[in-house]
Amino acid sequence: MTSRWRRSVDELALRGRQRGECERAQEALGRVTSCFQQLAASLGSSADGSFLRDEMDETRNLAQRICRGLSRRLLRLLSDCGPAPSGLEDRQVLDCGPAPSGVEDRQVSERLWVLFLSALETFLSDLRKACDLIGRFPLRQRYDRRALVNTGCVDGVVAVAARVASVQAPWLTLEEEPTPDLTNHITELEAMLSEMQLRVPVAFWSVEATQPAGVEACGGLEGLEGLQEVEDSLEELMEGEIVSRRPACCCLSCVG
């Protein structure tokens, strides 16, 4: 009896550690994907070049490693615990009994699951866009550079790349693999997404947000203090471009 109790306590501790790992990895993934988006936004513009594309490859390689590790761990977490305790007959089979902490664990794991899959979907759409853009602006020859769009962006992805390089995830040092091709990368992620959705049934609509709406505006989130003050001048810069002029030539039957 006591050994069973001790086993479940150990299991709970282990799962708690694994969840912590997953949460940190989720944050790292968020960082990498947002940097990837910044890089992808410069594709096809005057800031495009081989440096940018190499950085993009590095970034997505990193993202891929995080994704692989996260998906494996999340699958393990959620299939260990078995299906949700709500409404299933064979509860005796479950290792984690119907204890209230078990239900909470399950909810936390499901939340991580939903967060990871949402991040995966967003990253996939970015990858597809990037693939399309690279196809359209190949940059194989020198004269291809004339086709690039003058958007006003000159440079500036160096710091973004540095940010990517500073990302740490728990298992990154262990696995080192070469960067897959972009199309293969997309296929692999799609396969991962569908596999995860098929293997574990998670009612994702039952997950609820942990914070109320608009909390990010108050600067209550960690890491945002100190960044807010600089924003005022930037906002003024952008607002200053808005001149409320109503040129007479442009009244295309609009009122007011």
């Binding site: 988006q37 949402s118 994702f204 997950v207 930037l234 009122v255």
Partner: protein, 477 residues
């Protein structure tokens, strides 16, 4: 994790535009070397690659060998699609032929991406904007934010996390690039989720339920029906195009000032300003009509009779002239035409007794041949049995009574009394207010009740006077 609808995605949102957008992209690439760019100074930073509207339009005119107006329209379409965005007045997606400044949009935000702008991406953008503006979002953005917070609640933590991360990643760039990226993103979302009164070109219609790609099988029956249709078309009487076009031109010249979308209507077009004074002033039961309405009555008898308020006025005139039986017959025939099938026989009988029988109380004066046909038809009454007589009566009224009405004091008086409301002049804030406070209008049941009470009153007024009851009332007094 996104909830996707179960209906198959026929990619309706981009199909109509794909060809057009492909050609536009080629043109955008050519424009890079063609249009001269300059620098924009903002406080201490300078941002390159800013272009003026007139340079763009000049280049388009040169390239496409068209007129300036057409090039301006083309330029406006480029802005409305989101290939070029304006730097001043970013909510108005038009291209002006002057020194207003524009910039090219980066291909990542071009509209050719085959994927519709996702709600999750919009939510992340709004959260980012919330961070930057410390909660002071525009009203339409706030409405979207609240809606998305409710519908994407399961991934809201991810959205906030991603927004924070993207915000921090954006800060890593140099200042000019950061400003440019923020402008680009804002322009993208103004095109894809336009605020009120912004006309972006990314509107697409409702999803089609039929797959436009699948071939329709043409069966024997389809061919049979096609044959019938073409045979009937050949047999139809034809009119010379000069004649029909002349009629069209005449119609347009008469009515063009009365169309609220072609000419400004007073006080204001409810579809533009969300203020429904125009509709309340032109209702059925209104005491004093508007000047435009009264003017419309003078166009033809058909207009006068179609507008029920005009019909009332005409009936007042006819009562003064004591020649109301034509009008009454016409109305009774209308009622027969539009009424229920079960009431047709009884209605036909009353009409015969009142108007057509020799010696009837309100006998109408139509020619013998029509009278004979109508009476014979009344043996087996159907909906259109009075059609010939009604047309004859209509023509009588049109040729004679209508012109007398237009010259009569009744009409002149109503012309004088008619209202000419002041045009509205709403500021953008008031327009926003109007849009929020749209009235739901009058309930149709109330309108129906009003109609019924009117009909009851009219029935009592026109019921044949019971002579005996009148005499006994007078005796009692």
């Amino acid at each position: 994790m996104t909830i996707r609808t179960a209906r198959p995605d026929r990619v309706q949102h981009f199909r109509p535009r794909m060809h057009c957008l492909k050609k536009l992209e080629a043109m955008m690439v050519e424009m890079q070397s063609g249009v001269k760019g300059s620098e924009q100074k903002l406080n201490v930073t300078t941002i390159p690659h800013v272009i003026t509207g007139k340079d763009i339009i000049a280049w388009i005119t040169n390239k496409m060998k068209s007129t300036t107006e057409e090039s301006q329209a083309f330029g406006t379409m480029l802005v409305a699609y989101g290939y070029i965005y304006p730097l001043e007045n970013h909510k108005k997606l038009v291209m002006c032929n002057d020194t207003s400044l524009y910039r090219f949009q980066t291909p990542y935000f071009w509209p050719t991406q085959k994927w519709v702008a996702e709600d999750s991406d919009y939510a992340i953008y709004l959260a980012k904007r919330n961070i930057r503006k410390k909660g002071m979002l525009e009203p339409y953005e706030q409405a979207h934010y609240n809606h998305l917070h409710e519908w994407l609640n399961h991934k809201w933590d991810f959205i906030v996390m991603q927004a924070t991360e993207q915000y921090k990643a954006g800060k890593e760039r140099k200042k000019p690039d950061r400003v440019v990226f923020d402008c680009q993103e804002r322009a993208y979302w103004i095109v894809n989720k336009p605020p009120r009164h912004t006309h972006s070109a990314m509107d697409c219609g409702p999803e089609r339920l039929i797959d436009p790609n699948s071939d329709e099988k043409i069966t024997f029956d389809t061919y049979r029906r096609m044959n019938l249709f073409y045979q009937q078309a050949i047999m139809r009487s034809k009119v010379k195009s000069s004649v029909s076009l002349g009629a069209l031109v005449k119609y347009i010249t008469t009515y063009k000032n009365h169309d609220p979308f072609l000419a400004p209507c007073l006080p204001s077009n409810p579809w533009h300003t969300d203020n429904d004074t125009y509709w309340t002033m032109n209702m059925r039961q209104v005491e004093v009509p508007t000047k435009m309405r009264v003017e419309r009555w003078s166009f033809s008898l058909f207009e006068l009779l179609s507008d029920l308020r005009g019909r009332d006025d005409f009936k007042i005139f006819l009562k003064k002239e004591f020649s109301g039986e034509n009008m009454a017959f016409w109305e009774a025939a209308e009622e027969l035409k539009w009424g229920t099938a079960s009431s047709m026989t009884s209605k036909a009988e009353t009409i015969f007794k009142t108007f057509l029988a020799p010696g009837a109380p309100r006998w109408i004066n139509i020619d013998g041949r029509t009278m004979g046909l109508t009476v014979k038809g009344l043996d087996h009454p159907h909906r259109y049995v009075l059609e010939a007589a009604q047309t004859h009566v209509f023509l009588l009224m049109k040729k004679d009574t209508f012109f007398r009405y237009l010259k009569s004091p009744v009409y002149k008086e109503i012309q004088k009394k008619a209202l000419n409301p002041e045009p509205h002049n709403f500021s953008p804030a008031q327009l926003e207010q109007n849009a929020q406070n749209r009235s739901p209008g009058i309930h149709p049941i109330i309108l129906w009740q009003q109609d019924e009470s009117e009909k009851a009153k009219a029935a009592i007024a026109s019921a044949p006077v019971d002579v005996k009851a009148m005499m006994s009332k007078i005796d009692r007094k």
